[in-house]
């Protein structure tokens, strides 16, 4: 009788400890920085962006195009520096096929941003995100982040961090091959 009691209490203590350890292991296993966006599949929040080259770009005017929305900053080194030539190359390759690249300059100084554009010869439209309003509306955590918006104006994919040429091609061709009205994912 006493032995059973002892065994029972031991079992209770062990299972308690095990559940705490399991919880800890689960918590340590997840990456606190990997935050899935709730915006995938939803309509891209509309915005209007004053451009460095003058004029204003409205997202709603781009409906019908595949839009690659890139949040960047000149101080974001090396990620933004690495991906800038890739974005420019993709822009040159796809600009006549209904693809629009838009750079949203995040928390930057205008002179620095302009120098960055010149340095990498970026020709796609870019503009400053005043007060980070667009970034917050897109749930941006940091730069660089790149959103792929389909022809219906829905967010199909979000890439966090430096983007490679392969990912750019993959998502652009995937969204280009979609017929109108087809869901993006």
């Amino acid at each position: 009788m006493r032995r059973w009691k002892k065994l029972f209490s031991l079992l209770v203590a062990a299972s308690g400890l095990a559940s705490v350890l399991l919880l800890l292991a689960y918590g340590l296993g997840t990456d606190p920085r990997a935050i899935p966006s709730p915006l995938i599949g939803r309509e891209a929040p509309p915005f209007s962006l004053p451009l460095f080259d003058g004029g204003t770009l409205r997202l709603t005017d781009l409906r019908g195009n595949v839009v690659v929305l890139n949040f960047w900053a000149s101080w974001c080194y090396p990620a933004c520096w690495n991906e800038a030539p890739r974005l420019q190359a993709v822009w040159e390759q796809y600009r006549d096929q209904g693809v629009m690249l838009v750079g949203v300059n995040y928390q930057d100084r205008e002179a620095d941003a302009r120098a960055f554009i010149e340095r990498f010869g970026k020709t796609f439209p870019s503009g400053p995100d005043v007060g980070s309003r667009i970034a917050i509306d897109y749930g941006v955590y940091g730069v660089p982040e790149t959103f792929f918006i389909d022809r219906q104006g829905r967010i199909a994919h979000k890439h966090i961090g430096e983007i490679g040429t392969a990912a750019l091609h993959e998502w652009i061709t995937r969204l280009l091959s979609q017929r109108r009205g087809e869901p993006s994912s």
Binding site: P38, G131, S132, I136, G142
Partner: protein, 161 residues
């Protein structure tokens, strides 16, 4: 005539002061509201800092956004819902009280209750395991007598001037 002018000026000054006071009070409560909402939100570019506490630029921008939304008449709940809509519940510093998160809210209470129950069990076992005949009976009487005598002595001393 001059006196009337004086009075009118004083009145105007008083009104202006009142108005200023009112403006300060209004902005004070607005800032208070902004801070209150920002304290609920987790700063996306920091490590475990609220939007109210962070000196980062994004935090400042977020506070400005909260202020604007408040001035547009949005409620506290609507503004928090906006941020959750963009950043998921990740943005909330206090986990929501439902589902798996309940462990955080009730786990400590359960642990405390379990610990208390365990302590009661252990103490009861100790009490039962100690045979009463082993408890030494201290011979108290001589000490009590001594204390009585000391007290009487002190009392006698006190009474003397």
């Amino acid at each position: 005539m001059k006196r009337r002018l004086h009075i009118a000026l004083l009145l105007a000054l008083g009104l202006a002061l009142l108005q200023a006071q009112w403006v300060i009070a209004a902005s004070d409560t607005l800032e208070h509201q902004v801070k209150d909402i920002a304290a609920q939100l987790r700063c996306p570019v920091c490590q475990n800092l609220s939007v109210a506490d962070t000196p980062s630029e994004l935090g400042r921008n977020m506070r400005a956004l909260i202020r604007d939304q408040l001035q547009q008449g949005r409620t506290r709940e609507e503004i928090i819902a906006y941020f959750v809509d963009k950043y998921r519940t990740w943005v909330l510093l206090e986990p929501e009280r439902r589902g798996f998160n309940l462990i955080v809210w009730w786990g400590p209470v359960l642990g405390l209750l379990g610990g208390l129950a365990g302590m009661v069990l252990v103490v009861r076992r100790w009490v039962r395991a100690t045979p009463p005949q082993l408890m030494p009976m201290a011979p108290a009487a001589p000490y009590v007598e001594q204390v009585r005598r000391d007290v009487a002595h002190l009392a006698a001393k006190e009474e003397q001037p």
